[in-house]
């Protein structure tokens, strides 16, 4: 009898470290991106016996791990998970956490911490990561006793994924990792102080429907909220029924096919001409799951002043934050659109839509024709992206870094599939792309993943080539090399009197660098060789890299200079 009881107890009592892993398994985590170190060694030790249940990808820097977890989350729609040790390991996560916070990416970051009796004593590799991460996490929690682990992790996953998603950090002291606990896990389903899904108010839905039905020039801007709430189908039905022209924010791209007849372009600083100009001509502006970032609005005091604004947004703190609304629907996009669409009249707004097409024609003549189909001179970024878009038929997941190549990709890649656009939007994190792309491939293994990076951003997290090599992660890396920090240089040219202060770069031999990581690589600088190079690059088995040497001093146009109105968008 006694012996039996002992066996039963042994089954339930496990270390904190094992409990962490059991919790992750319960939350259906399949992959962890991480980097070990002193204070998280007990968890890594437990992981050694969990390889059949949890894959772990060793990055080359903790920033690489967190960006990979972001890419994984964005491509899969699941929560990204990463591990790091205390001190520098934890602080190295901060850029990715801040990026995930501003771009609403669900992450659970688990950091090791010095033993609880050492907290606050400046122990080796101790840093107050709870204090440091507080402003950039949706929630964080320090575990000092093993028994708190199931509570902390269950809440972490619930908070990260629900409502407006975001990053959560759980800091676990080393003694808590080694302590024993009686393990029991229950997924968190409710926190009384946290109401992630406000019920849409029906009178607001009705008011919005009336405004849309009466509108002569309605205009929709779609943001990432539609992707996050998996509302792509509902969104399409919504705009199709009322014949509403749709523009996208940077992160809203791929919520709807850019080939859809109602899609009129990309809004914002380097967006298309039509959507920016028409923002200040529409009579009803319908913003769905977007937050009126300053890169979208330009000068907010001259933004859509003539229009009645309908804002469908899950996060109440975004409503009336930057742009005053006529009707605010504080609800999940999917839920709101499901209620709103049946109340709409069937409409087509053909004349109004044709005004956007006129703008397209103008933009084509002034800009696109020159940059998409040049016949002489150096290669241009837009023509490269255009060819890749054509060759991949808009079917790839395209991950971008930050800068000119990012704006060019957002302008010229024709996203045809949902969940295909992964970029660092709000934070504008150079170095995001390479690790995010490898994470995206892990999160969506059956899709082709293309990483589009500038020569500057590539070198910020270039060490992740090691991760790509070790796990043979099949991503296609494109470096658009202009030997400049191109976007900063563009601003220096336009607004700082061409004083190119520290923006020119002497770069390494990228092909040789990739070769040292056993990654197939080639370099192209001639127009005649471009298509072949793209074909070879994309058809290579396993990871491959293509460096395209592009015009050094090319500018991205159109452009809304900072502080200008959207209607003052410059075509040159």
């Amino acid at each position: 009898m006694e012996a039996l009881l002992e066996v039963k107890e042994e089954k339930k009592t496990i270390t904190g470290s094992e409990a962490v892993l059991k919790c992750l398994v319960q939350e259906k985590v399949d992959t962890i991106f991480g980097y070990p170190g002193g204070a998280i060694m007990p968890i890594y030790d437990a992981l050694y016996g969990y390889e059949d249940k949890l894959a772990h990808i060793l990055s080359r820097h903790e920033q690489g791990a967190v960006h990979a977890a972001q890419g994984y989350a964005r491509a899969s729609g699941k929560v990204g998970v990463c591990f790091a040790t205390s001190g520098p390991g934890a602080t190295n996560l901060i850029t990715g956490i801040a990026d995930a916070q501003i771009d609403s990416t669900p992450l659970v970051c688990i950091t090791g911490q010095v033993a609880s009796h050492l907290l606050g004593s400046d122990a080796f590799q101790e840093t107050d990561i709870i204090g440091i991460s507080m402003p950039v996490t949706k929630w964080n929690f320090q575990v000092t006793r093993a028994e708190e682990i199931p509570y902390a992790i269950s809440r972490a996953f619930y908070i990260a994924a629900s409502g407006r998603p975001g990053p959560v950090l759980i800091d676990i002291t080393k003694d808590a990792q080694m302590e024993m606990l009686e393990f029991e896990y229950q997924a968190c389903e409710k926190i009384r102080s946290y109401q992630p899904y406000p019920e849409p108010e029906l009178e607001k839905i009705m008011a919005a429907a009336t405004l849309i039905n009466e509108a002569k020039k309605p205009f929709v801007i779609v943001g990432q909220g539609v992707t996050l709430s998996r509302a792509e189908k509902e969104f399409q039905s919504f705009v199709q029924k009322a014949g509403l022209p749709v523009a996208s924010t940077l992160l809203g791209l791929s919520a709807m096919s850019t080939r859809h007849p109602l899609y009129v372009g990309y809004a914002g600083m380097h967006g298309n001409y039509g959507p920016n100009v028409k923002t200040n001509e529409c009579d009803v502006l319908i913003a769905v799951g977007m937050r009126f970032d300053d890169r979208v609005t330009g000068d907010v005091n001259t933004y859509a002043k003539q229009a009645k604004v309908i804002h469908i947004e899950l996060d109440p703190s975004e409503i009336d934050k930057n742009v005053k609304t006529e009707v605010a629907i504080n609800a999940d996009a999917k839920q709101a659109l499901k209620l709103l669409t049946p109340l709409l009249d069937v409409n087509s707004h053909q004349e109004w839509l044709s005004e956007f097409r006129d703008c397209d024609t103008l933009e084509y003549e002034k800009i696109k024709s020159g940059v998409l189909f040049p016949t002489e001179g150096e290669l241009k970024m837009p023509e490269v992206i255009h060819r890749i878009s054509e060759i991949t038929k808009g079917q790839s997941i395209v991950v971008t870094d930050v800068g000119q190549h990012q704006m060019v990709t957002s302008r010229y890649y024709q996203f045809d599939e949902i969940k295909s656009n992964i970029s660092s939007g709000g934070l504008g994190t150079m170095g995001f792309c390479l690790p995010a792309a490898l994470g995206a491939k892990v999160g969506a293994p059956h899709r082709q993943v293309i990483a589009v990076i500038g020569d500057g951003g590539f070198q910020m997290t270039v060490q992740e080539l090691g991760t790509i090599m070790q796990y043979d992660i099949d991503i296609k890396i494109l470096i658009l090399n202009n030997s400049f920090l191109g976007m900063v240089r563009q601003w220096q040219e336009l607004f700082f009197d061409r004083r190119y202060s520290f923006t020119e770069m002497t770069n390494p031999n990228f092909v040789a660098l990739a070769a040292s990581y056993n990654i197939a690589a080639q370099k192209v600088s001639e127009r005649a060789d471009l298509d072949n190079a793209i074909q070879t690059w994309l058809s290579t088995k396993g990871p491959s890299l293509l460096e395209v040497v592009v015009e050094k001093e090319e500018n991205v146009f159109p452009m809304i200079p900072t502080g200008s109105s959207v209607s003052d968008i410059r075509l040159a």
């Binding site: 507080m134 629900s162 009384r192 899904y197 703190s317 934050k321 839920q335």
Partner: protein
């Protein structure tokens, strides 16, 4: 441009460590100074009340309050104008015992202000005055020429004049169904 005014914020939270930091970050991010701050328990077990005073425009403060409400452990946040609350602050004044005994004017000042002597010793007299900031300040101004050795004023404590009851408010949150979305499976 709307003028800045003094507002009182009342924030109900779970009694959890680190929350004060989370709240103040929202103010410091926008470079808003917190004029006064008080943290106390409430009539509901496990629920804390933060009372904060800040001078800002209503528009700006409303955005702050929305960001406060977003914090996971915040149950509710409310912003009040002066006539919507009953509030008090408490001030303590230390003056020399000699001054108190020998200066009739000081004694009269204290009596008229409604301040209480809470403690005395050989050297000092400790006064307490409860009231609005203006009232405690008035006594301060009166005593100042005679010499105040030490002065301290507490954060504001305030109760709203509304019908809302904390307990009912929390019950409402607990029964709310906005914790998940029925049409979507996560």
């Amino acid at each position: 441009m709307e003028a800045a005014k003094e507002y009182t914020l009342s924030v109900l939270t779970e009694d959890k460590p680190g929350l004060l930091n989370r709240l103040t970050i929202i103010f410091s991010r926008r470079k808003i100074n917190i004029d006064s701050l008080n943290v106390s328990s409430t009539e509901v077990k496990g629920v804390s009340r933060y009372t904060m005073v800040a001078t800002e425009t209503k528009e700006h403060l409303d955005k702050v309050v929305k960001q406060i409400r977003k914090l996971v452990d915040v149950l509710g946040a409310f912003v009040y104008e002066e006539d919507e609350i009953t509030y008090r602050e408490i001030a303590l004044y230390k003056i020399s015992a000699e001054l108190f005994e020998k200066n009739g004017e000081v004694e009269k000042l204290i009596r008229n202000s409604g301040a209480k002597v809470v403690e005395t010793n050989q050297h000092h007299v400790f006064l307490e005055k409860t009231g609005t900031k203006e009232e405690t300040h008035e006594l301060y101004i009166g005593l100042e020429p005679h010499g105040i050795l030490e002065f301290v004023r507490s954060g504001r404590v305030a109760i709203s004049k509304s019908m809302r009851k904390t307990e009912a408010f929390i019950k409402e949150l607990e029964s709310s169904r906005s914790n998940k979305l029925s049409i979507k499976d996560f």
